[in-house]
């Protein structure tokens, strides 16, 4: 579904991604784990067209999207749920969702928007309750739901999720991760999940990649990464004695 080869990106003199390659098959949940500054957000920004890559190839369903503008990538079916939600605080929940549907309006599919809105409310009943509330007044978890809901209104086939667990209470983190699994099941979505919360991400992902200072150093099925001592030490907070 998504195939990246030798992706290079950075800001000014700073090289962030150094020949990163990864792939995701249809229906897969794949996570990229890594520490702060490893290049996870840069990776998603580059894939979603917000940052121009300096080298490498990106294919979305066999079509190159390397030089495709961000809004076009959304209409191709690949939506980003950005880090820190990036909602419009002074606008209502409903208004924020409608902003996500602009691709659908351009497709002249007005009637589908209402339908999709109901599906999102079905998925996150809490958003329905707060439909008219200003986004800025929502809790962190609700804001994350809204950010995901907004992305769903473009009718994507693939979601790019940037640190959805960030800043959330542990119970809320579990809830958000459960929603992600549900998104695949109910909406048939393919999911690329970038996370610092390695344990939570690997628990729901089929496969994972480990990004360190812009380089992929490890990859494999989630259970393999969970039993890798390096991953345990660096990302799961175990010492090797405990895990023995």
């Amino acid at each position: 579904m998504l195939r990246i080869k030798n992706l290079e990106a950075g800001y000014g003199p700073l090289k962030v991604l150094r020949k990163v390659s990864l792939h995701i098959g249809p229906g897969e949940i794949v996570t990229v784990i890594g520490a702060n500054g490893a290049g996870k957000t840069t990776l998603l920004k580059t894939v979603s067209g917000l940052l121009a890559p300096r080298g490498g190839e990106i294919f979305f369903e066999k079509e190159t999207i390397r030089k495709v503008p961000a809004e076009r990538i959304v209409s191709l079916g690949c939506s980003l749920v950005p880090e820190g939600r990036q909602l419009f605080a002074p606008m209502t929940v409903r208004e924020n969702l409608i902003l996500g549907a602009c691709v659908q309006y351009r497709r002249r599919r007005h009637e589908e928007v209402a339908e999709d809105m109901e599906r999102v409310f079905g998925l996150f009943p809490r958003l329905k309750e707060r439909e008219a509330q200003l986004a800025g007044t929502l809790s962190g978890g609700e804001q994350q739901m809204l950010a995901i809901g907004r992305a769903l209104l473009s009718r994507p086939r693939m979601l790019l999720l940037d640190e959805p667990s960030m800043g959330l209470a542990p119970r809320m983190v579990r809830e958000i991760f459960a929603h992600i699994v549900h998104l695949r099941k109910e909406f048939g979505l393919t999911i690329l999940l970038v996370e610092q919360n390695a344990r939570g991400a690997l628990a729901i992902a089929d496969r994972g990649y480990v990004l360190e200072t812009g380089r992929m150093v490890l990859q494999g099925p989630s259970e393999e990464l969970l039993s890798n001592k390096n991953v345990q030490r660096a990302y799961l907070g175990w010492s090797s004695e405990e895990s023995a």
Partner: protein, 432 residues
């Protein structure tokens, strides 16, 4: 029958992407964790991220057996020893052997890969699998044992030797599959015939053979004499052990587990790639190994990559049976023996001359090795006892050094044929 159909029958384009991703992360890991590779890369001015395609791949340095020996025992390990759960070593009992390690994930992947090979050879969970490979430092026994268990077969860790007992187990336990060297299978067949045991008394259906080169003729004999389907499989401890490649029931070459190993066939002299179908030296790069990753390891085994698709449905490319070696290593009873090892034993024994000849014959499926050694005038041939003691001494030292028994014959000075150039140290009379 497939063990992992999604991998074994993978679309080639997807496979290449997967191989490339795995290669990149292997390079990133070895560069930061294996000093040998870091030094080598630095001296060549290569960074892991410079490798952006299979063409760039050919810029990477080769790794030779000598490099591993110089780093004896743990120099090539890419993880700390506390993360290693298993250690094996290549045959040879001295410092000249190479030591390899496995993390928990490595063992899991290894089991899975040998499970693929066993499935290719016909093994299912309903089989009773007798493993007559040595269990020990040698990778053959444990490697296939774990794979057979993974499949769910009933595994008999018979280990090597004691042929009569092996045959009794085979009859009593109703063994359906034999796993051993091809020469051992020949010996089993021979012994069964000698003992007058009818084939009907056995339940054997399959045999998976490896660890030494063999031929189609040997396959026919084994198949006829044991009433089984015999498949070939290949591996080496430096890469993982068994599990690198194996034959499916089409018996037309060995499918390489390419999602875990990147293979090349090169001209052993120029090191340039050989065209498909042409024989050269097999070079292997590991793509998923954690504890003991290898970059472009020169196996010294001669083979070729076979063109065309296999009717079995696997997309994994096939290699021909190993045809021989590029060095003088001998494989005797599945054990790797270098003439130089024999030479060093002889040199430390007083009274021997620097002339010797190693004669290998195969009698009734068993390799028999005799070392003919010239002895100087200090040994008097009329003193039988002195001679016997010396032969015994050499035999013991060789057994210590090589781990196998070798016959010794003393001959008078200047009786072994001398040749102008390279003297013929090895006379191999085996017909495979």
């Amino acid at each position: 029958m497939f063990w992992e159909a999604d991998r074994e029958c993978m679309n080639r384009e997807e496979l290449e992407q997967l191989q490339f991703e795995r290669l990149q992360s292997t390079l990133n890991r070895i560069y930061s964790h294996v000093p040998f590779y870091r030094k080598k890369f630095d001296s060549l001015g290569i960074l892991p991220e410079d490798i952006g395609s299979v063409t760039d791949f050919s810029r990477l340095p080769f790794t030779a057996k000598e490099d591993l020996r110089e780093s004896y025992p743990y120099g090539f390990f890419a993880v700390p020893l506390r993360e290693v759960v298993r250690i094996h070593a290549s045959s040879g009992t001295t410092g000249a052997s190479t030591v390899v390690g496995y993390t928990r994930n490595d063992v899991r992947i290894w089991s899975n890969l040998t499970a693929r090979i066993l499935t290719m050879g016909g093994i299912t969970k309903d089989d009773v699998v007798q493993i007559a490979f040595g269990y020990g430092l040698f990778t053959g026994g444990f490697g296939l044992h774990y794979g057979a268990e993974r499949i769910g077969a009933s595994v008999i860790p018979a280990s090597s030797g004691n042929t009569l007992r092996q045959i009794k187990i085979m009859m009593d336990f109703k063994t359906t599959a034999l796993i051993s060297t091809p020469s051992y299978a020949m010996l089993v067949a021979e012994t069964i015939r000698e003992q007058g045991i009818p084939l009907a008394a056995l339940s054997l259906k399959y045999g998976l053979f490896g660890a030494e080169p063999w031929s189609e003729r040997t396959r026919r004999e084994i198949q006829e004499n044991l009433g089984i389907i015999a498949t070939d499989n290949y591996g080496l401890s430096e890469i993982i052990g068994p599990g690198v490649s194996g034959e499916c029931r089409e018996l037309n070459g060995l499918h390489i587990n390419e999602d875990h190993f990147l293979v090349e066939v090169v001209d052993p002299e120029t090191l340039r790639p050989m065209p498909e179908g042409e024989t050269g030296e097999l070079v292997i790069t590991s793509l998923t190994k954690e504890a003991f990753p290898m970059i472009r390891y020169r196996t010294r085994d001669l083979t070729s990559l076979l063109p065309g698709h296999c009717p079995c449905g696997r997309t994994l490319r096939r290699m021909a049976r190993v045809k021989g070696r590029t060095d003088d290593m001998l494989i005797i009873k599945g054990v790797n023996v270098f003439p130089s090892q024999i030479e060093s034993v002889l040199f430390e024994i007083e009274g021997t001359e620097p002339h010797y000849q190693i004669v290998i014959e195969r009698k009734g499926g068993v390799d028999e090795v005799t070392v003919h050694v010239e002895v100087g005038e200090t040994i008097f041939f009329d003193q039988m006892r002195q001679q016997r003691d010396m032969m015994e001494h050499i035999r013991k030292r060789l057994a210590q050094e090589l781990g196998i028994n070798i016959e010794v014959k003393l001959v008078e000075r200047k009786t072994l044929a001398r040749s102008e150039g390279k003297s013929q140290r090895v006379v191999d009379r085996r017909t495979l």
